[in-house]
Amino acid sequence: MNNTKPSFDVDQVARIIEQHKNRPGALLPILHGIQDELSFIPSEVLPVVAKQLNLSRAEVHGVVSFYHHFRTSPPGRNIVQICRAESCQAMGSRNLEAHAKQSLGIDFNQTSIDREFTLLPVYCLGNCACSPAVRIGDVVYGNVDIDTFDQLMHEHSAVAVEVK
C-alpha cells in the first residue's frame, strides 16, 4: 500500500462493514451497502473489506466482478437500464436500444460526456406485461417507445436537452 489519501471516506466504509460483518454470508450485503452509499465500489475498498472478512483481496475482487450489479467506477447522475430480454424484444426493444445509444451518444455500460446518464442493459424488470420496460434509478417505466424515452431523458436531465 502506498500512502496516498484514499478516495473514499474510510470511516463511512468501516461503519458499513461493521454493520454487516457478523451476518452469515456478509460479503454481498457489505458490497450492496458500499455501492448504495458511494454509488460504486472503489478498488481501494477491496483490501479493506477483505481484511475485515478474513478473505483474500482476490476473493473479494472475484465476487465484485462476478455480479453485473456491482460497478467499480462512478456512474452518471442517472442510471438508465433498458430491458434487452425476449418480452421487450417482442415489442420493439431492439429499436429502442439502438435509439438510446444513438441519442445519448454512448454504448451500454458507458456514461454520457456530461455525466448525466449511464446506460446499462438489464435482462428483465418483471414488467413484461407492458414491454418495453426501462428503469431509471429505482423507478420502472412501461410501454416505453422512442418518444417516451426521449421525454424521460428530458425530464431526468439537469441540462435541458432538445426533444425532437
Binding site: F66, S87, C124, C128, A129, C130
Partner: protein
Amino acid sequence: MSTSATKVFVPRDTTACSLGADDIAKKAKQIIDSEQLELNLVRNGSRGLYWLEPMLEIETSLGRIAFGPVDEESVDTILRSRCWELLTEFDSILNIELPHFLGLTEEISYLKNQQRICFSRVGIIEATSIEDYNAYGGFVGLTVALEMQASAIVKSVVDSGLRGRGGAAFPTGIKWQTVLDAEAEEKFIVCNADEGDSGTFSDRMLMESDPYSLIEGMIIAGLAVGARRGYIYLREEYPLALKILNEAIELAGDAGVLGENILSSGKVFILEVRLAAGAYICGEETSLLESLEGKRGEIRPKPPLPAIKGLFGKPTVINNVISLASVPGILANGAEAYQAYGVGRSRGTLPFQLAGNIKYAGLVELAFGASLNTLLHDFGGGTRTGEPIRAVQVGGPLGAYLPENQWHTPLDYEEFMKIDAMLGHGGIVVFDSSVNMSEQARFSMEFCSIESCGKCTPCRIGSVRGVEVIDKIRSGIDVEENTVLLQDLCATMIDGSLCAMGGLTPYPVRSALQHFPEDFHVKADSL
C-alpha cells in the same frame, strides 16, 4: 379518515406504477381531501389485468366496481360523481356512465374465468395489512400446521401433488421429506425469489401484493422440516418488492407471527431478505446458495443435494415463491382440495403470465390442462400490434419457441416435455409475424454467454461458439455445414453442461431451427 368510509383502491405494484398508478393515487387523495369525500384510499396490489392499469376500484354494497385504465382527468370525474352512493340494486350499475367504467371487478371475464387459488388475495387486499390478510383467510394454514406433527405437514404437501413452480417441477413434498429426514442441528428455508426469466412476473406480483402468503408458507416449511431461519433471495431488479417484503416482515414480527414465539406456540422462525446482484444464474439453486454465502454465484455439482448439504453446508429447503405461497392454502383447505385441480401428474394451478406482444397481457391463474390456444386467444386476444402470432416462447429464455401447430398442447409438465418444450415458471412471451427467429436463436446463445457462471466448458465456451456459428448461418456462409455444427454444439451443451443454463439454452435454438427453418436461410436477393 374514519375506517367506516368507503374504500377506494389504487394499486401499488411495479407494473401499475410503471403506468402511472402513483400519480393516480396522489390525485385521488387530493380530490378526497379537497371535496371532503367519505373515502378511504387503499393501495392494493394489482389484479393482474395489466392492460387496464392504472385501475381504480371502489367498494360498493354490490361488490367492487372498477375503472381502467384511468388518467388524472377521469379520476377527477369518477370521484366527484359519488357514483358509489347510488349503487344499491344490481340494475343501477347499468346506469353508470363514467369514463373507463368496467362494471363489477369480479365479473370481468378475464378474472372470472380464472381459478385463483394462490392468487386469491392478490389485488384484493392491501399488501402489508395483517388485518386484511387475516380477513381473507390468512394464517389459517399456519394455525393448522402448528397443531400438526412435522411429518404430517410434509405428508400434506406430498399428497397435494405440489411441484416446484420455479420451473424444474420437482415434487415439493419429497424435497421437504429429505430435509426433515436429514439430521442436523441447523436447517434452513430459502426462498428463490430470483425471478429472472423474461415474460415472468408472478413472483414479483405475489411478493408485492400478498407478501404474507409467502411469509406464512416459509414459516410452515420451517415447522415441517425443523428449520428456524429463512432467507428470501430477492433479485435486485425488484426494488418495490424489496420494500414491501421488508415492511411485511417487520409487521409480522410486531404481530407475533414471525420471530421467537410464533403465534404464542414457542416455535421460532427468523426471516430476512437478501438482495441479489443481477446475475441470472443465481436463480439456479446451488448458485443461489453460493451467492447467499457471499461468494461468486458459481454452481455446485450435484450431489450432494441442497436438501442434504445446502446453505452453509446444512440441510436446506429451497423453493420458489409460488411453491411456498401455495402451501398455506394446502394446509388450510386440505391436500385433496388442491390435488383436485389439474391433470396427470400436474396438480393444482399455475399462475401463467401473458407477456410480450399480446393485447391483454397479465396474470392468468389456471388449473393445469387448458391449452396454450386458450391463453393466447381467449385470454390474450391475439397480438397487441394486430399482426398474426407467429411464435410463442414458453418457460423463459431457456424454453422452446412454439409454432402454431403446437398451441393445442395441454399446459401440463409432461405434455410439454413430450414436444421438447417446458412450462417452466409459466411465462408466455408472444411474438408477431415480424419476428426473425434466427435473431431470437442468436439471442438465446448470446444470453447464455453473458449469464453463464463459467464453471463448465460446454456452457461457457459453447454459448460463445453458438453465437459465432449462428452469425455465419445468418450471413449465408456454408449454411449446411454450419447448421450441422450448430446441432452438434447443441447436443454437446445439453449432454455436457453442469446445470440447466447450458443444458437448456439449446432448446429455444433447436426449436427455432426446427419450426422456423426459413428464417435461417438468407434469401439470395438480401445478400
